[in-house]
């Protein structure tokens, strides 16, 4: 019927695209009907990590405690001049250009794959690429190599050449609020949407909508301000890159200028903690009646309260004339390593295991039966990292983050209090806070887990 109909018409390109969409939908439906169970039936984003054994939890907790006071003793010993480590690196502009081309190509492929590929989260290129390779991979790479995202951000690449002048001045009092809202939506889609965020077509629609929002934001507020305050990934990767020794802007030579940025950092901490915590038995015991979206929304308040308590204590101890707000913004960046370490400890196994499926998917990104790189038969090796490796990795990542956080807090202290005695006194509340955050992170990782409902 369809063929006959087609033969009698002059086919416009629009009709071709409709027919093609139909064709893809019909074939994908057929394939889904023929194989009701996905061939490779891994749940999307499933973590296979075992709870930390008790001895490793106690080890991590005691090491965090001992190392903290060792660090304080070391800081107190003599007058030391510290600087945040800085390695200069000149990027070859051809390399940057190559990366830009690659990033735009991957952006296009991801969107096409979501619309036209198979509609199964694990067999489609888009969800694995976006949620695992890009979101986790770029977070870790930014922490190590600095803010390369700023040079290859596809939305910025598209919008920067237009050199849009702002129609309105960005209301600076809002701070990083748009980015913070996007952050919440992103995490909600990642962990609480029951798989909605991993649906290929939905994901591509989302990315296109986000592109549209970025265009709109740039037209209204100008490219520069929008990408500074509004675009989520620029804010997020920008913050993490402040830890990198390759970064021009690090935790020491820049500072938090708005409370929304402090909330952003606290949400990075609390959302990861929440994701770990919500699959444990204690969570089910105490919180299973509550709405998880509200709990996620409330989670940074818990971390903020403790942080503010430490700041108030610091103000009392040092008799500083600085306001609590100034103090709390000043020390905000010292929490970045803890948030980064939580993220690595919790999600890195996902990148190592499920991230492998990108090897298979990339050979046939739009499910056309291609084998571009000869890897379309690659099978995920679940045994690549065993439980022992994951356990040790998690504990050392968290201890590493703790040490870096204490170090940064010390540097920030010296910047603020030239008086040594005052500096050391001010350090104590932050130290206690960090020990608490670190032990809380380890505690969550050590809790027995719960599957299904009660």
């Amino acid at each position: 019927m369809t063929l006959k109909y087609l033969n009698h018409k002059i086919i416009t390109s629009e009709q071709i695209s409709i027919v093609r969409t139909l064709f893809y939908s019909v074939t994908s439906c057929l394939i889904l009907l023929l194989f009701p169970q996905p061939v490779s039936a891994h749940a999307f984003g499933a973590l296979y990590s075992l709870p930390l054994p008790f001895w490793l939890y106690s080890y991590g907790a005691s090491v965090a405690l001992i190392i903290s006071f060792l660090l304080i003793a070391w800081f107190a010993k003599e007058n030391k001049e510290f600087n945040y480590p800085r390695i200069h690196l000149n990027l070859n502009h051809w390399l940057v250009f190559l990366l830009q081309v690659l990033v735009l190509a991957f952006f296009a492929v991801t969107i096409l794959a979501g619309f036209f590929g198979l509609q199964s989260p694990v067999q489609n290129f888009a969800p694995t690429f976006f949620w695992i390779i890009f979101l986790l991979g770029f977070t870790y790479l930014s922490g190590i190599f600095g803010n390369f995202w700023d040079k290859i951000n596809p939305w910025k690449l598209i919008l920067s050449p237009l050199n849009l002048k702002p129609l309105l001045d960005y209301p600076k009092s809002l701070g990083f609020l748009p980015a913070l809202i996007f952050y919440f939506i992103l995490i909600w889609l990642e962990i609480l949407s029951s798989g909605l965020g991993a649906r290929p077509q939905f994901l591509s629609t989302l990315l296109l909508s986000y592109t549209f929002i970025n265009i709109l934001g740039s037209i209204i507020f100008g490219t520069q301000d929008w990408f500074k305050y509004g675009e989520f990934f620029s804010v997020s990767f920008g913050l993490i890159s402040k830890l990198s020794p390759f970064s021009k802007e690090n935790v020491l030579n820049t500072s938090t200028n708005h409370s929304t940025l402090l909330l952003f950092i606290l949400f990075a901490l609390s959302s990861t903690a929440f994701d770990g915590f919500r699959s444990t038995i204690p969570f089910f015991r105490f919180f299973f009646l509550y709405n998880q979206t509200l709990l996620l929304l409330a989670s940074p308040i818990f971390f903020l309260t403790l942080y503010l308590l430490a700041i108030i204590l610091m103000k009392i101890l040092t008799r500083s004339s600085l306001s609590i707000k100034t103090l709390s913004l000043h020390f905000a960046f010292s929490l970045i390593p803890i948030a980064f370490a939580y993220n690595i400890a919790h999600y890195f196994p996902l990148l190592l295991i499920q991230g492998q499926s990108i090897i298979t998917l990339i050979s046939d990104p739009i499910n056309q039966g291609w084998n571009l790189f000869g890897t379309s038969d690659y099978q995920i090796n679940v045994g690549l990292v065993g439980a022992n490796f994951v356990w040790n990795f998690q504990v050392f990542a968290i201890i590493g983050g703790h040490i870096l956080a204490v170090f940064i807090a010390h540097l920030l202290t010296l910047k603020l209090f030239p008086n040594r005695k005052q500096a050391l006194l001010s350090q104590l509340p932050m130290l206690i806070l960090m020990i608490f955050y670190t032990i809380a992170g380890l505690w969550i990782l050590s809790q027995p887990m719960m599957t299904g409902g009660l």
Binding site: Y48, L50, P51, P53, W55, V382, T451
Partner: protein, 136 residues
């Protein structure tokens, strides 16, 4: 690096490695809690055979806990009876077994991957429990 800094570094490394060595359990047999009714352990040796009898009613485990705790290398048999036609799928190991309503089915394999692997009723996409394989 000054002498003082070096001392702090050495003390730090000693604390890290010393505590690790002291706290790490010496015996290689991990503490496995045995849930009474669902499990019958035939031998306490490493690489033992373990079988679990699971009864699923209304998409939930009716027979005790759905958490199956074993040690790496164990021979596992999962006997499962469901009250409707389904398929059981074990993640990670990627093993499946067809379930016919109220007929026992079983899944046998060696636990050579360590970690926590949820298993689900594939058609209803409901996770009902998890296999926890502790390293030796």
């Amino acid at each position: 690096m000054s002498k003082n800094n070096l001392i702090y570094l050495i003390v730090g490394v000693l604390v890290l490695s010393g505590l690790f060595y002291v706290l790490k359990p010496k015996s290689t047999t991990p503490l496995v809690t045995v849930s009474p009714s669902t499990e019958s352990t035939t031998s306490a040796q490493p690489n033992s055979t373990k079988s679990f009898d699971l009864v699923v009613k209304g998409k939930k485990i009716a027979s005790g806990s759905g958490d199956l705790k074993v040690t790496e290398g164990d021979q596992i048999t999962i006997n499962i009876t469901n009250d409707e036609d389904e398929e059981l799928h074990l993640h990670g190991y990627d093993k499946s077994v067809e379930l016919q309503a109220n007929k026992p089915a079983s899944l046998s394999f060696t636990a050579n991957l360590t970690g926590r692997f949820p298993y689900e009723l594939e058609k209803s996409k409901i996770e009902i429990g998890a296999l926890e394989v502790t390293p030796k």
